[in-house]
């Protein structure tokens, strides 16, 4: 008996003394980006849990458990830069992941380069981020340019012209509209209306869209204004085809409105949680079991990001050398939940972009890419 207790104590001590590697996380736990931040953290937590349950990261004959060092950057560039600096100098992490806000990521990236710590973005979509020649910056998710390219391809195949827009009066909205206009051509663009953050009355856009006889309307915005705009367009009796962003293809969004008003709307999507692809299905099941809700693209991208970082540490044989880690990441190929991830020379991955459509019963089907087409309930 005493021997058993002694042995148990010994193993407990051994477990407690097991090596750990701290991995930096920058995200939003509070502030305006807190809700998407939760999805991102769920992805990281799930990945860390699975890595640790499998014994940790094997480097140089030892196993390292992942220990997430999380900083709340609150959608604030100054907070982001200082968190990044702290992670590099005080916590001395070999790699940092996360961020939601492109502006904050833009402030963090130069710090990552200064201290030679790879920064793997998993959510921000600002196209410029990977155009700065920063060798320490990687992005798992598709940029706005990639999303727009796929969406325009889809819209052109449908022959939806003229296309009207309602968009944020900011970088994301104006950038998105200009990007799509360039791809579509001026002739196929209809009414373009901008609204300021915090504006809730879309009635003027509704009148203009009706007057412009738009075949389809692209809504460049997130959940809150999106739900208001759709409600006001549909209540005014407009039957125009609606096209939305990532934020509008989730069950959460359905709860804000109703299947009636959403029926037929399409939106680009980085991750269809109900797709029959085995890797997506398995991830969605594990996610639902742990968090009790539908899996989200931000979680899948973040999960893949951390899994890649772990694979890179294993392959590079280091848990401290950021430079070595960077070089391995640059050449790494990873079969992730969202698809095959491989960074190009600018550090940008090229994951598949989907277009999903709302069905009358409140489920979604996949329309694009053609090869992954699937009916209601799959999107």
């Amino acid at each position: 008996m005493r021997l058993v207790i002694l042995l148990a104590a010994f193993f407990a001590a051994a477990a407690a003394a097991q090596d750990k590697v701290a991995v930096g996380i920058v995200t939003s736990l509070t502030g305006p980006m807190a809700p998407p931040g939760k999805f991102q953290m769920n992805g990281f937590n799930l990945a860390a849990e699975e890595i640790n349950a499998a014994g940790g990261i094997a480097v140089g004959g030892r196993k390292y458990l992942v220990d997430l060092k999380v900083y709340d950057t609150r959608a604030n560039p100054a907070e982001g830069a200082s968190a990044m600096q702290r992670l590099a100098t005080v916590d001395k992490v070999p790699v940092v992941l996360g961020e939601l806000h492109s502006g904050v990521a833009g402030a963090e990236a130069p710090v990552a380069q200064d201290y030679s710590v790879p920064l793997i973005l998993t959510v921000p979509t600002g196209p410029n981020l990977t155009e700065q020649g920063n060798r320490f910056l990687f992005r798992v998710n598709a940029s706005n340019d990639q999303l727009n390219l796929a969406l325009v391809d889809f819209i052109q195949k449908q022959g939806w012209a003229p296309l009207s827009f309602i968009a944020w009066n900011n970088d994301a909205g104006r950038g998105g509209v200009n990007g799509m206009k360039k791809l579509l051509g001026e002739a196929k663009t209809g009414y373009v209306g901008y609204f300021n953050v915090g504006e809730v009355d879309f009635s003027s856009h509704v009148s203009n869209i009706r007057a412009a006889n738009a075949r389809a309307v692209m809504l460049f915005m997130d959940e809150e204004p999106g739900s208001l705009a759709i409600k006001q367009l549909r209540d005014a009796g407009l039957k125009t085809q609606l096209i939305g962003t990532l934020a509008m293809g989730s069950d959460r969004f359905l709860k804000r409105l109703d299947a009636d008003r959403l029926d037929g709307m399409v939106q680009y999507n980085a991750f269809p949680p109900n797709a029959s692809t085995p890797r997506i299905r398995s991830f969605s099941e594990r996610y639902k079991k742990k968090f009790g809700e539908e899996a989200h693209g931000f979680a899948a991208q973040s999960y893949d990001g951390l899994m890649m970082a772990a694979a890179a540490m294993q392959k590079a044989g280091t848990v401290s050398d950021g430079k070595k880690l960077r070089d391995v990441l640059a050449g790494l190929e990873h079969d992730g939940v969202i698809g095959r991830i491989r960074f190009d020379a600018k550090g940008q991955a090229n994951p598949p972009v989907y277009v999903t459509q709302w069905c009358a019963n409140g489920t979604r089907r996949i329309l694009y890419p053609e090869s992954l087409k699937a009916d209601c309930g799959a999107g």
Partner: protein, 291 residues
């Protein structure tokens, strides 16, 4: 085009009605106490939140929830007058600063209570659509216009024919003379604040189901309401009504001819133009004792 114009006029009258509710309250308080209460927008916002609370948690009856909201905000308004504005009486500058401070305090209080994200106030009864020719409007739209028209009419009757209303007008014309004839002017202060705040609350409670309830929901109505007051003539009740409606309709109709992001500029450009022509606003009169 005719349909679009009609649609925008109806929309404009609706947003204008909301500005009118805000402007009426501010004008009432300004008239009696000569304080511009910049916290009026956050009181409007509190109206939205309290209505959400009363409707979803307590009664489930929208009309009752709106009335409860107005009563609750009237009490809060009276408390603010006693606790914040009365101690600073005679010091206009500090009263204005206090009202600016109230914005920060109340807005953050709302965030602490209800969180930073917008709440949805779903009132199924008023979501019904009403057809007007080929156009359709949610019932809530027409409700806002109807309720505001009723409130404005009641307000005029109250100020003109009731004893209390006459006392309010007397106090706003000359505080000392009012006191001489036996009007309890301090009580008029409390009453104007309670009434004004209840009107702001009504605005918030009416707009909530149409849009969303969020911490900054009162910002635009407050600024536009203020523009309506200046346009109509500082301190004039009919001026506040006409001014609010002009701003609402002008900015809505302008979006048919100008990019929608010029909407706010149009509202203020009209205000500036009218003030250039009539420096005291449409209904402005030189108040007694004013320079």
């Amino acid at each position: 085009m005719a349909a679009a114009l009609l649609e925008q006029v109806v929309n404009g009258v609706m947003t204008g009605s909301v500005y009118v509710l805000v402007a009426l309250g501010m004008v009432l308080i300004y008239g009696v106490m000569h304080v511009l209460n910049f916290a009026h927008g956050v009181l409007f916002m509190l109206g939205g939140y309290l209505c959400h609370f009363f409707f979803t948690r307590l009664t489930g009856n929208y009309a009752l929830a709106v009335l409860l909201t107005m009563a609750a905000l009237a009490l809060i308004g009276a408390a603010l007058e006693r606790g914040v504005f009365r101690p600073l009486q005679g010091n206009l500058r500090n009263q204005v600063i206090a009202s600016l401070g109230l914005i920060l305090a109340l807005e953050n209080l709302a965030i602490a209570f209800w969180g930073p994200n917008a709440l949805q106030l779903k009132v199924p009864a008023t979501e019904r659509l009403v057809a007007l020719g080929e156009l359709r409007f949610p019932l809530q739209h027409l409700l806002i216009i109807g309720v505001t028209a009723t409130v404005v009419a009641a307000m005029f009757a109250f100020l003109k024919w009731s004893k209390f209303g006459t006392a309010l007008r007397a106090t706003s014309q000359d505080r000392n003379a009012a006191r001489v004839v036996g009007i309890p002017v301090e009580r008029m202060d409390v009453a104007s604040f309670a009434l004004g705040t209840a009107l702001a609350a009504l605005g918030g409670a009416l707009v909530g189901p149409l849009f969303l309830v969020f911490p900054q929901m009162g910002d635009t109505p407050m600024v536009k309401g203020l523009a309506g007051i200046l346009l109509g003539g500082m301190g004039s009740v009919p001026g506040a009504v006409i001014g609010g409606l002009i701003i609402g309709v002008a900015e809505s109709v302008s979006t048919l001819f100008l990019p929608t992001d010029y909407r706010d500029s149009v509202a203020f450009a009209i205000m500036v133009l009218i003030l250039l022509a009539r420096p005291r606003g449409l209904f402005g009169v030189r108040a007694r004792g004013e320079e």
